[in-house]
């Protein structure tokens, strides 16, 4: 930048004009990185993946995603630190990379978490961290909707 160069004057002039015309995206990126949208969805009738006792919720949104991506945290996570992508059991260490592969080419960056009701918040946080690392923007927590009279 400061080296003697016949083009220095020209470069300086150009740099000024570009910096004025560009939006500074760094604050925006910061906000995006902090933000992780978490919402509740009702478990669909037909379920894929390993069996877990889903938490029960009074109200939950209907699942509208046609190709949902499920990550399951069973109670056995406490012992073996393994989660499931559909039926595929993987150690938590590779979850971020597997999610990156799964999200590659998808536009929604959305994951549905099928956590057992007995999973601890600390364990959920482990998984959230890995998912965020992989670029997940929205996490839907799958819940069993309590029907009237239950």
């Amino acid at each position: 930048m400061s080296q003697p160069d016949a083009n220095t004057g020209r470069k300086r002039a150009r740099r000024v004009s570009t910096s004025l015309s560009e939006i500074n995206v760094i604050p925006l990126v910061d906000v995006m990185l902090v933000l992780l949208i978490i919402f509740m969805v009702a478990a669909p009738m037909l379920q894929k993946g390993v069996e877990v006792n889903l938490p029960v919720a009074r109200r939950a949104d209907k699942l509208t995603n046609t190709q949902p991506l499920y990550v399951t945290i069973p109670t056995s996570y406490r012992q073996d630190r393994r989660v499931y992508i559909d039926d595929d059991g993987i150690p938590i260490e590779v979850l971020a990379e597997r999610m990156r592969q799964a999200l590659d080419g998808r536009s929604d960056k959305q994951v549905f978490l099928r956590g057992d009701g007995a999973v601890m918040l600390q364990e959920m946080m482990d998984v959230f961290g890995r998912l965020k690392e992989a670029g997940v923007e929205k996490i839907g927590i799958v819940a069993q909707e309590r029907r009237a009279g239950q």
Partner: protein, 478 residues
Amino acid sequence: MMTTRLRWPVLGLMVAASAVAIASPSAPEELRGDRAEAAVGRAGGQQPTSPTQPTPPQRTAVEVTLTGEGGAQTRLAVPDLIALSNDQETQDAARVIGEVLWNDLNYEREFYLIPRDTYKTIPSAASMDTVPFDRWRELGADGVVSGIVQRAASGVRVELRLYSVRARQSVFGREYTGSVANPRLYAHTFSDELHLSQRNLRGVARTKLAFSSDRNREAVIATVEKREVKEVYIADYDGANPRRITINRTLNITPAWSPDGRSIAYTSYRSGLPDVLISNIFAGTMENPTKGVGQNFLPVFSPDGSRIAFMSSRDGNPEIYVVNRDGSNLVRLTNNAATESTPTWSPSGTQLAFTSDRSGTPQVYTVNADGSGLRRLTSESYADRATWSPAPYNEIAFAARTGPGFDIKIYNIASGETRQITFGEGTNESPAWSPNGRHLAFMSTRAGRSQIFTVDRDGRNLRQITRDGNNWTPHWSQ
């Protein structure tokens, strides 16, 4: 296989000349991603399997992918190689080969390369036969490249194999023996051979870039005419192993490789006036095809290497000439009061493209090699430095003025459409195609000084190649 191996016969003398490819450990077959459609159509340029031929069982198995719905590529993992000897040199080589191979395979974007920082949870195999396939499958790998480096009498023995994680067997393998001095060459060679065998693609890992640079910052010793010192350098396609070619402390610019990679033609002010020189970089000899007549610039070899197109003002006005490499059979292609410059050959050698300002502004034109059939291609405010892509892409890349600086644009000859691949970050000039037509090298000031970058033909995969001094006018070896 042998022809690509011989592309760098002398530079790779210590390694390639003694490298011996053994038969693959098992019959080579194509490794694919877990795509349902992969069982139906084979990827990229392979001969379609005849329907009467019985296909091996693992190919007919249609498995629904669990993770790769959005256009899944075959996913490869390249961990560090296993060093079977304890000395530092072998262990360094094992690490370097793994790193470079990952970069080489990633460069062509034919495979998804799983980032190396995710491998640390997987225990490294103790030998080639104990690859922890289950752990690689958990990481989502379809293939894993495993290899060993071992001390041998003449240097090192490097064995590399591509394993299919699903089939748990080797699908492609190579063994090399040679010097340990440049371990990167083993990785480059394996990458090229793997691309050829798995994707029928000619990789560029063993190609080189020539460019002119002022990185030595030598004191200017001579007269006003020699205002600057630039020398011609070559480096690997990834910028490693830079080597200086000219040593004459004048201006040496616009290098161009001969098709056999043994010579570089360039414009040199060695004698005080610009002239075309050819350096035979391995023989250490020099040629002057223009015999010192007039001022000559911008040499470029024809695709068969027998002729050189260049610009000369010998008849009073800058025009395009073609001359045999030995200086015979000089032909003047253009005859116009305007300035003609920067010739480039079509891949077949029957046409040339060049820049002319006969319309008032510099534009790219094409002309037949005998001087007939002139045609104007571009309508930019300023278009210069055309470079004709190799087959199968029928395109011409050039630098077009887009504001204060230039940007790289690509003109498709068949459709007549122009697309832009750089967008005003600094000035971007002097494009040069890779020999497989998938990448471009160019000079850009986006990082401050003038540096060489490479980019894919779709504008993605930008990489900075040089970092030292100022560097200009790259040219990619064939």
